[in-house]
Symmetry: C2
Subunit: 272 residues, 2 copies
């Protein structure tokens, strides 16, 4: 059983007691839809399903959810984003501990493809002053606890950057506020290990699989802040930006774009 809120219905309003609102007790997915079709839907569903298992939210109606997403994507050929939220549902008693009889809430909404804010070749990225938490029990999940990202995004706006990189208290770079990050050292592509923190992005997975298929050398490992000055190429990824080259990193102009270009062309070749 699920309480559904699909598009217009979503004006209807969520119960104030929903644990998604009370505690951020839920997950979300943002799916890019191009030419009337959702992209990488299986990856999104796999991550969602994994998250529900880890949080022990007993949502099961994946077929119905998939149909909603596909219908939203097909309703218009214009590119769009479809966002899903699945929460544990309205609390059936007070307190953090769920009873187990909650009815999950599922919200599906369609959003026009956003305009890019950054002029071409001016995707500037800096290091955020907002720490990202090391929290192994939540690492990898796209859950609804996003206050750190909200604070980093505010900082990003103030500093007129396109994105900020967030690091842990132990000074390890994890990701952007709304993206994953890849860095190039010599001939090797490096992306932070997400064992302790961060979201295992769908586009990150697409990049990692594409790189592996292309025989590129890839390292998934902890990346110290102090290493940042040593990389000569960087790009960030999410399903909206795709593979987005970083043109300036902490004030330093990056002139190399090779890995990003290669990956972009291979990903496009695979998806069409």
């Amino acid at each position: 059983v699920t309480r559904w809120f699909v598009n217009e219905q979503s004006q209807q309003g969520i119960d104030c007691n929903d644990r998604g609102l009370q505690y951020g007790d839920g997950l979300f997915e943002t799916i890019s839809c191009v030419g009337g079709e959702p992209r990488w839907l299986d990856f999104h569903f796999e991550r969602l399903q994994n998250g529900l298992t880890r949080l022990r939210i007993p949502f099961t109606e994946f077929d119905a959810l998939r149909e909603h997403v596909v219908a939203h994507a097909r309703s218009d050929a214009q590119p769009c984003l479809v966002k899903l939220i699945v929460t544990r549902g309205a609390a059936t008693r007070r307190g953090y501990r769920p009873v187990g009889d909650e009815i999950p809430t599922c919200i599906v909404s369609r959003h026009p493809w956003p305009q890019s804010n950054s002029p071409e070749n001016e995707f500037r990225v800096g290091l955020s002053r907002v720490c990202i938490a090391a929290s192994p029990s939540l690492a990898g999940l796209k859950h609804l606890n996003r206050l750190e990202q909200v604070m980093a995004a505010m900082e990003c706006g103030e500093r007129k950057l396109a994105e900020v990189l967030m690091s842990t208290a132990t000074r390890h770079v994890i990701s952007g506020s709304m993206s994953n990050v890849f860095l190039v050292a010599g001939e090797t592509l490096v992306t932070p290990d997400l064992r302790d923190s961060g979201v295992a992005g769908v586009m990150r997975r697409v990049v990692l699989e594409t790189a592996a298929r292309s025989g590129l050398a890839v390292q998934v490992r902890p990346v110290g802040i102090e290493e940042i000055a040593g990389f000569n190429e960087a790009f960030v990824t999410n399903v909206r930006l795709g593979v987005q080259s970083v043109n300036q990193l902490e004030g330093r102009t990056l002139l190399v774009d090779d890995f990003a270009e290669l990956l972009r062309s291979q990903i496009n070749a695979n998806t069409h």
Copy 2:
């Protein structure tokens, strides 16, 4: 301007786009009301106001909010809990970054005083396997990102404990899942430093101020997990439990209760 949801109205439903639901972008307070009066209301409002400033949520209607709380408390002489949630309001565009034109949402609800789950003298506490994040930008705040506490509370239920203590990845004890923790070493009361993590509880503050007034030796400092075995008295605090003695800590029975008893009697003397 504020969008209010007060008690019955709260059935009405929150906008699916509320940033409280989307990102946990908001704060809450749980206020204990006894004899028709809210207790420590100034402390709750001070923490709320501080949190709103730190998150830059432009809620200003504190007088109206105070009146709602007082009215809820007075509506019945039975003890109750009044819960407030203030969020940044419905998103006016997609993405983590707030635009600044959001209208805050304020939810006020009254809950009957919950029954205690633990029989007297059986308040058993263990160490949680769920890490609590070190996140200095959010430390101290009673914000809506509570998934770690939800997971710890699930564990607590499974292990049939009354509360679990949560520690950071660096093995520092921070608090319980729903309480702050105090420990006694010799003649000194110790409670974890909350610079990097945890909620600055109202009852914690009441205890610290009461201890100071009584001339007790108090240390607010980092507490390593390995120290836990060395304390011979422990209690947890929140506005519902008050000063709750821990009878068993990680399987070890604690027989001493002196600090807790002294503090309880002094706090009661001050509030009545």
